[in-house]
Assembly symmetry: C2
Homo-oligomer: 168 residues x 2
């Protein structure tokens, strides 16, 4: 599994997330409630709300692509207040992921990755991918899914997984 595979997997999952949001919108319409009430839904009073889970999922993907690809991550203010705005946030993230190509990721496993929250320490690129980016990305994606699921949106495991390159 290459670093490019990981970035593409994050992109695929963010596109799945857009489909979960579409299902949430359809659910809200069928139940006659405003879908944007889900923007601030959360699973515990001190847990991130849906918007923050989406923003964080996007940021995990964005920073992984930037750190591992040797690029500057674009700044995205966490100001989204509606499903429409959150979808735009996902699209901005996807557009950035597209700019990070296999050639940028060559040698990513040995890059020094020093995010501010490590306080001056650093991780090898491969360690960043394994111990930070992958677990955190899927944490926020799953939490976003879980918040919608908890609020009655009919999502199943194949919505989460999306398409599979199965062969005959």
């Amino acid at each position: 599994m290459t670093h490019e595979d990981a970035i593409r997997l994050f992109g695929k999952t963010l596109r799945n997330l857009e489909q979960w949001m579409n299902k949430a919108e359809a659910h809200a319409k069928a139940k006659s409630f405003e879908v944007d009430v889900l923007v601030h839904a959360r699973l515990a009073p001190d847990a991130f709300d849906f918007a923050r889970q989406v923003q964080s999922g996007c940021d995990q993907a964005k920073y992984a692509a930037a750190y591992l690809g040797g690029k500057q991550a674009p700044a995205h203010a966490d100001t989204e207040q509606t499903f429409a705005e959150l979808k735009q946030r996902v699209e901005k993230c996807l557009a950035f992921l597209e700019t990070v190509q296999a050639k940028d990721l060559a040698g990513a496993e040995d890059r020094k990755v020093a995010p501010p929250w490590l306080g001056g320490k650093w991780l090898r690129g491969d360690d960043y991918l394994i111990h930070v980016a992958i677990p955190n990305f899927f944490f926020h994606a799953t939490m976003a899914y879980a918040i919608l699921r908890h609020n009655g949106v009919e999502l199943g495991k194949m919505d989460y997984i999306g398409s599979l390159p199965a062969q005959d």
Copy 2:
């Protein structure tokens, strides 16, 4: 990121899960309730309960190790009814993961993986890891975490992530 890295990451996260269960036990004791009431807690009426999330997380790790390592996965009946039994389930899974070594995983990326639920189709080993094992494993781990978090157990992101191999 090698296939061995992925199996080790699953193992690390299952050990983190044991720590979340320890925190749940301490929380239950402090609040004077029986921790095993959480075994069947769930986020939606038709979502897997905590036990099933733990069992499924273990199974995702177990089957990934078996399919990619060319081994037979040991059978584990989903009969756990207590935190103590669920911890034993995690330990059995960890013990199996330990038996799958780098030499078993050599060439795993091109193995044909044909789980029964694919109905006769198959995935390349790398595709199985990327599209099935990693997303599904972290789905169930995060759902287990989310159920505990939703029920008041004080867990934070570093409980989820665990130790990092950061360097000075």
